[in-house]
Symmetry: C2
Subunit: 634 residues, 2 copies
């Protein structure tokens, strides 16, 4: 396996300058992240860290399996610290830092002398630590705390939290592994693997990478650890509440897996870690496994919004082409994690198909999880509604809230990559960055009104004239991209999604890239039975939906769209400055009064259909919505 020479430029080195992301970023920095701290306090999550006697929350909700989300409250804290630290990387904030330091104080007090750190176990049942990796999220919590510690260190240089986590990791590494006296366990909910690779990249400590590799490779081996662990607890392993180890992707060794199964977020975190390890260890076998899983997800199990996991009961995957719209689970976290995975795949293999998926997940399934004003959320992201899906201000399991805030707060990290002799731009939307190429600092300023417009200007400004490759992603949806350099047309010949411009770049060079964004119809593979006879609308990277707020007069499901109807793009005319789509459509009306069934087809009256970007839905009054619109019958 040839290592891909491109590595992402960290978001800390990418200033977001375009209107779209500036607005989302400001919202997240000024409203979302502060309000999440208040919610963590309100929900009792912060107080749960105050050992030795944590303040008991008013109530601990338990699900039908007698499972409480409190078992993973540590992870919510870790994820908030991560998101807040990303915010600090944009601008320091003494108040936020004091809040984080106070949490770290609590964590330091909660840590056991041997390094173990889990506030639930230490506060409630310390003797039962490490007895139920399958269900109880200790390693998952450790992973999110570690990500928080890394992010806080990177943002502030303060290493107390990180040191504390290093001690915990020493304990974990001593506890788990293939050595004598060690448990051959691994996480029930994957996450720590990703965090360990991040730590390795920060410190170079190879033990952390090895531990990640151990967790990934041990997963699903026989004899099955979760079975042995259940027996050791005195539980019947066959009584596993989820019914199957597919739920946590431990049904077989990960390298043998070719179908994505089970809980979608666990699956995405696992796949992301597999891709990380494939890269760091130059492991062609892991890369092949990732590619097989990628093919399965993207050709048979992904909503058009890049939502993943249709089913609520396992929060996850079911079977190929099973993509119901109204009952779609499509957890925000899963689309966020798909962004993580797709970015890692892209850096194993610079193929625009991966970047297309980053973009699809980012602008649709992930961003839909956060309200316009930044303090309301979706956990599930259905593609159809009759109005029964209001956004909520918090959730008993608040994982998605901080997943979306950490993604937006670090979004610049997905925009471009550098190698020793080139720059690859993956996403557009306005940024400024100055990577070092061939030893020279090259300032790149991308200016655009993306995703509303595909009219993109890229100013390249090396400190001295420098020859390098500029790779520009030409999105899969952009059928007739054209470009100029300093006003002179150039031939764009994109290969695998990237047009490469190799030349000596000089100060003042400007590439103008035009990605025409007509409104387009999308059709699902006909095995997606829910979408037969239906069409979705896309413009650029955005999937659209029809929402009752723009289409008053009844459920939007009564609107049908003739296949040949022209679709008009209305620039920045819609809600929240969004570009909307309009088309002459038909509104069905009963041809037979209030008869529920009739031999007469419904009357089809002329109407106008207005579509809004999906990520903006449910920000106004409740009402019906659909992404897949019935096509008109002749």
């Amino acid at each position: 396996m040839t290592r891909q020479p491109y590595a992402p430029l960290p978001f800390t080195e990418v200033a977001m300058t375009g209107p779209f992301w500036r607005e989302r970023l400001e919202t997240v920095l000024t409203r979302t992240i502060p309000s999440q701290h208040a919610k963590l306090k309100e929900a009792g999550i912060l107080d749960s860290l105050k050992l030795p006697k944590p303040v008991p929350p008013l109530s601990i909700p338990r699900n039908k399996h007698n499972f409480t989300t409190q078992i993973f409250w540590d992870s919510d804290v870790g994820k908030w610290i991560e998101a807040a630290s990303y915010a600090l990387s944009h601008r320091r904030d003494a108040d936020i830092e004091a809040k984080i330091d106070a949490i770290v104080d609590d964590l330091a007090r909660a840590q056991s002398p041997d390094g173990y750190l889990n506030c639930w176990y230490n506060g409630r049942e310390p003797e039962r630590r490490w007895t139920n990796l399958r269900d109880n999220h200790e390693l998952y919590n450790a992973g999110h705390l570690l990500e928080g510690a890394i992010a806080y260190f990177r943002a502030t240089g303060r290493r107390r939290f990180l040191d504390l986590m290093e001690r915990y990791l020493d304990h974990i590494a001593a506890t788990f592994g293939r050595g004598h006296g060690q448990k051959r366990g691994y996480p029930g909910h994957q996450e720590i693997e990703l965090a360990l690779v991040k730590l390795y990249r920060l410190t170079g400590d190879r033990r952390r990478l090895d531990l990640a590799a151990y967790f990934i490779d041990e997963r699903g081996r026989q004899p099955h650890y979760f079975t042995q662990e259940a027996v050791a607890r005195g539980d019947d392993p066959a009584a596993f509440w989820a019914g199957t180890y597919e739920y946590n992707q431990s049904h077989m060794p990960v390298r043998e897996q070719t179908k994505m199964v089970g809980h979608a977020v666990r699956a995405m975190y696992m796949a992301s870690a597999m891709a990380d390890l494939a890269l760091e260890l130059d492991d062609a076998g892991l890369k092949r496994a990732c590619e097989a899983l990628w093919r399965d997800v993207t050709t048979a199990q992904m909503y058009v919004t890049a939502g993943l996991g249709p089913k609520e009961s396992n929060e996850g995957f079911t079977e190929p082409y099973d993509l119901p719209n109204e009952t779609a689970y499509a957890e925000t976290c899963a689309s966020v994690a798909l962004v993580f995975w797709a970015q890692r795949m892209l850096h194993l293999d610079l193929d625009g198909a991966y970047a297309d998926t980053i973009e699809r997940a980012l602008y649709n399934g992930a961003l839909s999880g956060l309200s316009r004003e930044g303090t309301h959320y979706f956990y599930a992201n259905p593609l159809e509604s009759r109005g029964q899906h209001p956004r909520w201000a918090w959730h008993v399991c608040p994982c998605c809230t901080m997943n979306v805030s950490r993604l937006v707060a670090s979004v610049g990290g997905y925009f471009l990559s550098r190698s020793d002799d080139g720059v690859a731009i993956h996403l557009y939307g306005g940024f400024s960055a100055s990577p070092t190429i061939q030893g020279k600092r090259v300032t790149i300023e991308e200016t655009s009104d993306y995703p509303w417009s595909g009219d993109i200007r890229i100013a390249v400004d090396p400190e001295t004239p420098t020859t390098f490759e500029l790779k520009l992603r030409v999105p899969g949806w952009a059928k007739s991209a054209i470009a100029t350099i300093n006003g002179r047309p150039i031939a764009l010949a994109p290969a695998r999604g990237y047009a490469t411009i190799a030349r000596e770049w000089r100060a003042g060079d400007v590439v103008a890239l035009d990605l025409p964004m007509p409104a387009e119809r999308l059709y699902a593979h006909p095995d997606v039975r829910t979408d037969v006879g239906r069409v979705a609308l896309r413009r650029g990277p955005l999937i659209y939906c029809v929402e009752e707020a723009d289409n008053p007069g009844g459920p939007v499901q009564r609107l049908t769209l003739p296949r040949e109807a022209p679709i008009t793009v209305e620039r920045a005319s819609g809600f929240a400055g969004a570009t909307t789509l309009k088309a002459p459509a038909k509104a069905l009306a009963s041809a037979d009064g209030d008869a529920l069934y009739s031999t007469r087809p419904p009357a089809a009256r002329d109407a106008t259909l207005t579509a809004l970007p999906y990520f903006l839905w449910a920000n106004r009054q409740p009402g019906s919505m659909e992404v897949w619109i019935a096509e008109s019958v002749a």
Copy 2:
């Protein structure tokens, strides 16, 4: 309110002579009912009656609310006795009678000295009787036992079971009511009301009718009995697991209810009892309430198969036009109970619309609950499947199994009604009956291959020439019915669904009724969002479906039907001798390889679509199925 002069002819006076019902009836009598006894034994249900020490079953399944179905096992026994007794009315059987007598022995031993009879409470927690009417089904069980006792008495003349139930009813009547010291309770699950009316009709004991009327009228009054009862138990009434009293239709007094809500079977039993009482008490208020609920159900909440209740969690209703197909609950019991209700409405008001619904429910949503060979069942009756819906041999809650067997075993009771000066025929399919009209015995023989053919011959043979009205139902679907008498055409002028022929009838008179049965397309009201752009097929009383067994080569959801495609009727050529429908259709295929989403619409290849009556689905290999077929897009 003018009493409707027509009363149903009991099934014991109607011989089923046509091929369709003879076959179903034979299957139920010879296979279904005997096998159900074996299953009741196997499941521990029969042993649970053996007090004082009932044999504990191997396991008592409990749902997430810690509720066990064992609490209503008495009802399953009652319902089996009812079905078996109907079988005995067709032909006596010493073995079956011995089995019933053995059960009655157990019940007699289980009965408390004060008449109380509930095997769960008497066997396990006698001190808690009558403390939780909301959840624990004591009155429901009593109702089904009473129906069994009435049926057994009618079939055999043996009154031991009936006497025992009369003692129990005396106890119930003493316990519940508005008198001093009585509990103002009523059933959490309605049923006993129906049974009490049946008993009143058998014995003329007015107290039984009064008790039924009390239960119906007390329901939903304030202060709310279930709330008071919960407080008395020490439970928090607000913690009611179902969340709302709509679940059991006690959210308001029944006469004020205009929307059908909650658990569908409870709702149907309640409505049936309301109609019974409206008739027996000449109660125009109750009739109006029934009519409002009827309108709501049939114009907004009924599947095209006459399935009721889309949602699993409440086994019931949701909101107008919410009729998802693949996840339809549509419990068999609910369609069976809709037959009960519709028949009662018909006898409040001889309107063919009610008979149309009897027929729709009988031939579709109810009959689909029983397999072809008579020993496998559906509890839920989805209108679409990807093949994940096999029939099962039994169910943890076996209510539906015996509901369908008792319906089929007594199906003749829905075919015709008599009044002092007329006969009304509601259903066709081959029967012979000799009601007394004007004091004369009139033999009526209806001969047909219905529902496969609408070619119907009715021989009228009075013992002496007699003038009376023969009312023939002209189904709502029969657009161009014609008839002759003794070969001479007559003008049929159906009013409210019935054509009335008043004449002096003589031996040898023959009416030939021709109900043409072209295949028809049905469209749902456009507010049924799931069915927009879709069409269902009907022929005569049968709703059709497309099943993979007849349409191999992929999921049937890939087939689309052009709106103008001619539909051919193939007589008795299909599975199980069924008339099938065929149409030139389109089979969609990906136009873009394995791409999940594409800007190119799927290719539409010529194909043939074969449709089978819905009630016959899932009798061959598992596969996909749908009732609502996507119409082809131009």
